[in-house]
Symmetry: C2
Subunit: 214 residues, 2 copies
Amino acid sequence: MPKHVDPDARRRHVVDALFRVVVREGLQRTSLRAVADEAQLNIGSLRHYFASQQDLMRFAMQSMLDRVESRLLEHVERIGDLGNRPRPERLRLAAGFLAELLPLDEHRRAEVTVFLDFNTAARTNPAFGDLSRQAAEGTGKLVRRVLTRLDAAGALRPGLDIGIETERLTALLDGLSLRAVLHPEVLNPRTCADVLFTHLDDLSMPAGTPGSAH
Amino acid sequence: MPKHVDPDARRRHVVDALFRVVVREGLQRTSLRAVADEAQLNIGSLRHYFASQQDLMRFAMQSMLDRVESRLLEHVERIGDLGNRPRPERLRLAAGFLAELLPLDEHRRAEVTVFLDFNTAARTNPAFGDLSRQAAEGTGKLVRRVLTRLDAAGALRPGLDIGIETERLTALLDGLSLRAVLHPEVLNPRTCADVLFTHLDDLSMPAGTPGSAH
DNA sequence: GCCTTTCTATCACGCCTGTGATAGAACGCA
DNA sequence: TGCGTTCTATCACAGGCGTGATAGAAAGGC
């Protein structure tokens, strides 16, 4: 088994470089040569790990989605069972969880930036079509699940249409991300988080209502 | 003064062609030659009206923003004074007005698509920087004005933070547009409009108060 | 030692891009 | 008619792109 380097590590290294280029220059200007330079690799080496540009791009987008998903799972692990928390804390936890999707720090900001570029490219580039759709449906289902759980725990206002509220909250998250990434001087992370919390608070029980059934 | 053709009409013709290419192929693949072909013009003629690619692109983005603005103004004209309408109708009118920003029909859909591509490009292309920022601030101020008017007319819930609510509604509109453009099979125009109305209804007087919706 | 696989590095090709330069047609006015 | 401006059309160039081909280095198993 000849194995000088770990190919998976190499691919991760290349993908990291690609993300940096995308953030700095945009997906439009993210060429094989630019990525190779950023990764300090020869373009020949790079092509040894990725058969074609499309392979690289798809792999990169898939990696990005995987990373987001694993960070979300990690967050779920961290908060554990939220069934037996006091109601205001449940809201706070839900907000903190959904905030993983917002560009509130440099790390998430880079990720959301890449996410946005890939997904807008997917509109006209069939190579990304399935991944983009899967991502959009994924966040939708995620938001729906959060709302459903909150509702089941009696934390939400009665009479809400969960379908509509799912679309509303999902669109709100997407919109906050979009504006925060494109116009950080207009929408800063703090306001971003405030808006999210305000929204969840709006969906919750009015103050003074008896809390969790159970 | 020799004048065979109307230069303004020509420029409009070219910009229309450019928009079609952007919608169909994405801004990334919108080259001078592609636009010239779409406009059924020789690239030489095209370059007679636009000194450089950057000139064309900036002109196109500015045109798009002008068209959106004029459609909004036209809508304002159409509804006239809304001060003396019954409250539920005021909400409906405000929703209809803000819906001008959503891709609810093919025309607006194309416009929002172009808007999105230009604004995402503006993140890394300084040529669009000022226009993009101006657009983002414009919609923000627009939303704020709508909310302020509704509030002044007593149509809104008391205790709302107009600043936060402006950001929230703006992000919601952006998010709806984004999802409707990128994933029309997930978020259809009908749901889009429903979400907007639900949101405005949520901001209005609490349920049970005379005049509040449904 | 040798052999095979893995990896790095480079060349060349065809394609597309924006753009400078330029020639000629179309047209209105004198 | 001829003149000058406006417009159309084309060529050529340099630069960037993805990619096929290929040669050579590096590394481990035998």
